[in-house]
Symmetry: D3
Subunit: 167 residues, 6 copies
Amino acid sequence: MSDSQDSHHDGFTHLDRSGAARMVDVSGKEVTTRTATATGVVFLTPETIEALRHGDVPKGDALAVARIAGIQAAKRTPDLVPLCHPIAIHGADVTLTVDDERGGVAITATTRTADRTGVEMEALTCVMAAALALVDMVKALDPEAVVSEVRVEEKTGGKTGYWHRSA
Amino acid sequence: MSDSQDSHHDGFTHLDRSGAARMVDVSGKEVTTRTATATGVVFLTPETIEALRHGDVPKGDALAVARIAGIQAAKRTPDLVPLCHPIAIHGADVTLTVDDERGGVAITATTRTADRTGVEMEALTCVMAAALALVDMVKALDPEAVVSEVRVEEKTGGKTGYWHRSA
Amino acid sequence: MSDSQDSHHDGFTHLDRSGAARMVDVSGKEVTTRTATATGVVFLTPETIEALRHGDVPKGDALAVARIAGIQAAKRTPDLVPLCHPIAIHGADVTLTVDDERGGVAITATTRTADRTGVEMEALTCVMAAALALVDMVKALDPEAVVSEVRVEEKTGGKTGYWHRSA
Amino acid sequence: MSDSQDSHHDGFTHLDRSGAARMVDVSGKEVTTRTATATGVVFLTPETIEALRHGDVPKGDALAVARIAGIQAAKRTPDLVPLCHPIAIHGADVTLTVDDERGGVAITATTRTADRTGVEMEALTCVMAAALALVDMVKALDPEAVVSEVRVEEKTGGKTGYWHRSA
Amino acid sequence: MSDSQDSHHDGFTHLDRSGAARMVDVSGKEVTTRTATATGVVFLTPETIEALRHGDVPKGDALAVARIAGIQAAKRTPDLVPLCHPIAIHGADVTLTVDDERGGVAITATTRTADRTGVEMEALTCVMAAALALVDMVKALDPEAVVSEVRVEEKTGGKTGYWHRSA
Amino acid sequence: MSDSQDSHHDGFTHLDRSGAARMVDVSGKEVTTRTATATGVVFLTPETIEALRHGDVPKGDALAVARIAGIQAAKRTPDLVPLCHPIAIHGADVTLTVDDERGGVAITATTRTADRTGVEMEALTCVMAAALALVDMVKALDPEAVVSEVRVEEKTGGKTGYWHRSA
């Protein structure tokens, strides 16, 4: 990384050479159908899980709120992720299911587009916002909720075609 | 939970009784100084960690972008979390540090306000958006990055005073 | 209105005299608890009302989506209404109930704040956004849905104190 | 609707079966030119109508503010309507005209796109935001203003082609 | 600046020491009435100035659009300026006047608050957004428009009290 | 301009004839690759320039913050500029370089799209927001910073093809 170290000697240049954030040009990429699926989990106490299961959360229907928060955040990904391209999301769904074995709510989001870049950041944002909203709904009952294992599971479309994580 | 179960029989009523999401009234709560600290981690490959350490990420200065994304998202928490109150954040900082032992970047965010509700959702949102932005910056190098253990560590202020998680 | 007519003769001055939109200064107003209630109705076909009642709307839980849309829009009122002051909403709830007699869904929203201006625009925005979201959810079933009678019902707090509409 | 009633017995499943809001996939739909026209009316007192006619509204040029609010809101439709697709609006205009017979201001909005879904929600949002902004501009003069009859009038493009409301 | 130079040797530390952007804590600052005034100018061709003066701009009422754009942007300052605190703007006005001598439109914006930090960034944002919107309105007539001399003129309130620029 | 003058006599008509702002229909325009470059300068004191050069700005890495603010604002151009079309930005970069001769920081932004309208407003918004963020970062050191000479330098694509400013 000698290039970057040199740049410390010549004023601001290094800021434009190695450090300059930019939104990569994708105007030459092909418009193809692309999808991405991301998952995550919110770990909760057994009491909170029971409350969710019975619709007993005092602030209201926690899972419906989380789902809608996820879809809305997916649309706002370029606002949240500084170098993400604005993209036309053509479909999004998010499911939240109680997973008694893991002791939490599993979240899966799939986003779809017919555009020039992938939608994995949109799927991740969807999962994260759904998780955040769920934590908000239950935080009076469960202040120690933890969001974990948020990650891309698979992608389709674009130059790469089908991709899925190795583990 | 008999009340809610009954409500399944009488049309829409249950939607307004047990399921109706609402933004809880906090206008009677006291204006006090409140803080919250949340943490999280982004697990990355050793190669990605090296690239971050040397400023070699092709899209630009990943940690600076993540930090700014975190602070900006903290301000937009009420937009992202449907039932969160709009709140005047009076201070926010977020640090990202490479943690070689855990194999990732540890994120810590602290938010402060002098207002009527706590700022733990703002701290969590800050961590999550910083994590998302970091994943976006390195995703070409590391498509299997995982965001985990996002959680509130401690809070001060309000009626509860000092709170920290048990583990 | 001779003042304004004169202004047509002197260039742009009239734009700064009679036509200049501005956000009125409220910094000297007192911080008091204020509430506002607004209502409205979405007229629908009997078939759509049946579908709502039975949760049969293909796009999902229409009333939950409408309710959340209303609360989120209430928070974004200053973004939508150009001369509205940004305000800290401290509480918001919105109810949607099927009204068979009127042939539609009645919407009532109440917003609360402890701030320097009233929250009737926030209550109206909440009703309108809930209505819009409801129309979106059912538009495949009911393309002729109509939103009507959106209006402020009552207000409390501020210099005026209690106000309710005359009819 | 036995399916939904059954779902009350099996935990969260029903939330993912009948209640799960999702943004419908439109990536396979054709890109065609589409337009939509929506209308609405704001009922006002004769005194307020006179003030509008003479540009005497204390907060400024009410009709210009309303028109701009409408256009800006049309662009933000996917932010306001949770399951609306983000769409590239390629044209929008909104007219406000005093209608002495009805005793109010009639609003008509037309939106256009060359994209994969219709723009009737954008036209409705435009009308509603223009109406809201108008109410805000005159509310000191006319606290009992009512927004009514907001509805889609006609649509062109897409698979359906030309559609207009029956009455 | 030896401290910062050292930091280049010890991994990420410097990112948290010298480079870490943060939103400074203002929760301990006093709530006082604060104002700020900023100005700027948009240089235009004489033909464009004539068109503005006569309301002949094809896209519509350019000065009204610019004024509203300025006020709306002032409210969105914390969204645009990453480390700006969200602040309750309690008043904003912006005037645009043709200045034949300078060959352009002079813009002056004043913002007011009763809050914990100054509003000079809000006044500057207001001027800049009004200028941008004006350029957009006339760009078909005047593609070489230039925005210049955007600066804070004076401030009141807070610990500093009255401040005005030296030149 | 007799048409507009006449309109002053016939009530609201003129508002719909000469004054009615509208988003021009571009749905018939061709999708082509388009770019725009805009520039601007922030004049600063020599002390501030030294602080920037050495990374000594107390609020953090001013140039990184400015760059990210610029890119994010470019994506939000249609939110800020009322009659701008929402557009898919497919690339954006912004450079900030110290210009000792002019006594300030020179900003250059280039935006790219494959869409139906030009991106010069996006490039200008990028420059302005980067300038605003830079002023915010240094305002404690340099309250008299001035943003000037913000203008479009060149454009490519669309019906016009290559265009550059005359001076």
